[in-house]
């Protein structure tokens, strides 16, 4: 069954049409990469899934139920979220950041969840837990953000260009950590990227977006064969040889 599906999603920002009748679906355990240039609507689509953005038309279903009929706060607590710049809370320690969602859910073992998540994200909790975000490198901060997203054990993870701000080596390491994490936990994920190579490396499925529409949606393995036109252009730009 599809854990996430968007049906004919439409979103308008004044004169511009950010989403022009978009439909996607992500099966449980899959990882969908939304690929496109800036302004293609990929971030808007991602944010519609946990109701950070409300659609003007169409509908979004999470776990088979329309998100409009779910409580936004409870919905968001059940979905992991990572944004490009990490968005760590600066005056909280890394452990406090990582324990955020279990804490919001009122779990007595919130700190343990945070510690486990930090470990899973590749950071030694004893070493990093008591530090503040600004004392960490960019790559380490992004790992804390990933730990925070998975600490409560969500079945769904949304990520908005999670690795874009990292240098090439750090990015590859972070991608590998994420791939391992997702597969071992069996999490369903949807993430935004402008990099076809990253999509191919990390995702099981790829949706190519342009001007608010999906131009191609295929399993990652079939992408290279089926890419034509704009999708092929993007592949080429990302240095993936056809």
């Amino acid at each position: 069954m599809a854990l996430i599906s968007v049906e004919e999603g439409v979103k308008r920002y004044e004169a511009t049409l950010a989403l022009d009748g978009v439909s996607i679906s992500v099966e449980a355990g899959d990882c969908l990469a939304l690929v496109g240039g800036s302004g293609s609507g990929k971030t808007t689509l991602l944010r519609a899934i946990n109701r950070l953005t409300r659609l003007d038309g169409g509908r979004v279903l999470v776990r088979g139920e329309p998100v409009d009929r779910q409580d936004a706060v409870r919905l968001r607590r059940s979905i992991g979220y990572v944004q490009q710049d990490g968005g760590l809370i600066p005056h909280w320690t890394c452990l406090a950041n990582a324990s955020l969602v279990p804490g919001l859910l009122g779990r007595p073992d919130a700190s343990d969840c945070g510690r486990r998540a930090l470990g899973a994200a590749g950071l030694e909790p004893g070493e990093f837990g008591s530090r503040y975000p600004r004392e960490l490198s960019g790559g380490q901060q992004q790992r804390v953000a990933i730990a925070r997203a998975i600490a409560a054990g969500p079945d769904i993870l949304l990520m908005d260009e999670p690795f874009a701000a990292l240098d090439a080596i750090t990015r590859t390491e972070a991608q590998d950590t994420f791939i391992g994490l997702r597969e071992s936990a069996g999490m369903t994920a949807c993430f935004v990227t402008h990099d076809m190579a990253e999509a191919l490396r990390v995702a099981t499925h790829v949706a190519v977006m342009r001007e608010g529409r999906i131009v191609l949606q295929v399993p990652a393995g079939e992408l290279v064969d089926r890419a034509t036109g704009y999708a092929a252009e993007l592949l080429e730009k990302s240095g993936v040889t056809l």
């Binding site: 059940s78 944004q83 990490g86 760590l88 809370i89 005056h91 919001l104």
Partner: protein, 538 residues
């Protein structure tokens, strides 16, 4: 040191009583035992006469509260009508021209009759019997200048005024029986006219910065600065007989006290008054002491001079000493009064600042949610900020009367903008990425505010509070002009008496207080700064 502690204890009691009485005054305005409020205008003779009234009332068993240098004519009239003060010394000519807007005709008796009737029918305010001397406006020049120009009378100015610079008190410039009327009556047009406070006028003419000034005929400084008074040869100035002015409530509630004040009628002649003025203005002696002497000289004195000067807490003034060495001594002698003024000052600042925090911080938070309103709201607060302090204080009088309440309201309005603006920008600039991530992970708006935005904005909000506090400490000195007390009292009195030591005895503590408040609140800023955030965020 136990003496000081006892004094401090007395002060705090006095302060508590003061606050209490301020709170209950409207309720027990009918109370016959309340002290009689004696006010004056801010110049030496008015101080002296008010002190004469006060001492004479006290000698006859009445409790008195002094409001020396309370304000100029308009302010005193408003306070009289509102029943905020009971009695102050006024001049018939001023009442006729400045208050009633009429021109003089007839002599002293006719003018006194006219003002008595008009004040009584319009406001129920009573002119008590004139004290026995006239203090008319005197237009004066340096003797040597008058001699070399050959000017003896005001009509002599007509031809040469275009070469002269006039320096007049704001009061004189602004009123019908003042400069405008004079210029019309004599056809005088000065090359330039400057507005000068009484405190600096004589120095200005001595230095030659101005050529012609307005003085008072009983002025002790006329001989001191070697000035010539030009004769009013066309009879422009109306008679200015000095008399106590009594409010309606005072008349109705305290007939025995009124009776006491009528006994001053006709007792003080112009020679006695000029001598007394000289003692204050030229010899630099304390008002209370000179007033007691004046009462004794006219045969109404009771208690000894020492007792009188002790009772008003005035210190012996030492004009020979340089200002800087006289200042610490004066402040030490007046320490109990000074402590009371500092507490009163802090009370004004804390009350206004507290109210501003209660209003502005939540408003700043709400504005972040309703950004469409933010521009307008901040603009309104900004406009409040641009109103000159004195003007804002004056606006408060018709609404809130005089005293601490209007001062606190005005200071409150001044405090709004810095706190509001810093709260608003502090909340907006508080790690927007972290707020966005927190929201995406299911924090409620309230949790975002309480756990991310407010803690991060706290140092910025505190900086706004600090700005407002420092502004308030300064502005509160001006509140003395509307009778709010505090460290402005010695400044206002010192300006009126041309006493730089007295001015500094208010100004220096006010400056020190501002620095201390600034220092203390910068510490508070560091205290509220959340950990883990880059230092030096301001």
């Amino acid at each position: 040191m136990s003496g000081l502690r006892a004094a401090a204890a007395r002060v705090s009691w006095a302060l508590a009583l003061c606050a209490l009485s301020a709170a209950v005054v409207p309720l027990d305005a009918q109370d016959r035992d309340r002290p009689i409020l004696v006010a004056s205008k801010p110049f030496a003779e008015s101080y002296l006469l008010a002190e004469v009234f006060a001492q004479f009332l006290e000698a006859n068993g009445f409790a008195v509260e002094r409001r020396p240098g309370f304000g100029m004519t308009e302010l005193l009239m408003q306070a009289m009508i509102a029943g905020e003060i009971d009695v102050y010394p006024e001049y018939t000519g001023t009442g006729l021209a400045a208050v009633l807007g009429q021109t003089a005709s007839g002599g002293s008796a006719a003018v006194f009759g006219r003002v008595s009737e008009e004040y009584e029918t319009r406001w129920g305010i009573r002119w008590l019997p004139p004290l026995g001397f006239e203090n008319t406006y005197a237009i004066a020049m340096r003797r040597e200048a008058a001699d070399s120009l050959g000017v003896r009378a005001l009509s002599g100015l007509t031809a040469i005024a275009s070469d002269l610079v006039g320096g007049f008190s704001p009061d004189f410039i602004g009123r019908d029986d003042g400069l405008d009327g004079l210029a019309t009556a004599y056809g005088i047009e000065f090359r330039e006219t400057r507005s000068l406070l009484q405190a600096v006028k004589y120095q200005a003419i001595e230095e030659g910065a101005v050529d012609v000034i307005d003085a008072y005929s009983t002025d002790g400084a006329i001989s001191r600065y070697d000035l010539t008074v030009l004769a009013d040869d066309r009879g422009f100035f109306p008679p200015y007989d000095a008399a106590p002015l009594a409010s309606r409530a005072f008349m109705q509630e305290r007939p025995e006290a009124i009776l006491v004040l009528t006994r001053l009628g006709g007792r003080i002649d112009v020679a006695a008054m000029r001598r007394a003025n000289e003692r204050v203005e030229v010899e630099g002696r304390p008002v209370a002491e000179v007033a007691a002497e004046l009462l004794a000289e006219v045969g109404l004195g009771g208690g000894s001079v020492e007792e009188a000067s002790e009772s008003s807490g005035a210190a012996v003034r030492d004009a020979e000493r340089p200002v800087l060495s006289a200042l610490p001594r004066r402040m030490w002698e007046n320490r109990s009064e000074l402590v009371r003024q500092v507490f009163r000052h802090l009370l004004l600042v804390v009350a206004s600042l507290g109210a501003a925090m209660v209003v502005a911080v939540p408003t700043g938070v709400v504005l972040e949610r309703r950004r469409a309103l933010a521009g307008t709201t901040l603009r309104v607060a900004g406009i409040l900020q641009t109103i000159p302090s004195i003007a804002l204080l004056a606006f408060m009088i018709p609404v809130f009367g005089i005293g601490a309440v209007p001062a606190v309201v005005a200071l409150f309005l001044y405090s709004l903008l810095p706190i509001l603006r810093n709260t608003y920008t502090g909340i907006i600039e508080a790690a927007p990425n972290a707020v966005e991530a927190g929201r995406a992970l299911g924090m409620t708006e309230w949790q975002l505010l309480a756990r991310i935005r407010l803690p991060l904005a706290a140092p910025v909000i505190m900086a706004g509070i600090r700005t407002a506090a420092v502004i308030n400490v300064g502005t509160a000195t001006l509140a003395a002009f509307i009778g709010a007390g505090g460290l402005g009292d010695p400044i206002v009195a010192g300006l009126a008496l041309s006493d730089p030591v007295m001015i500094l005895s208010g100004a220096v503590p006010a400056a020190v207080l501002a620095l201390l408040v600034d220092w203390g609140l910068s510490g508070a800023e560091l205290l509220v700064a959340p950990k883990g955030v880059a230092e030096g965020r301001r």
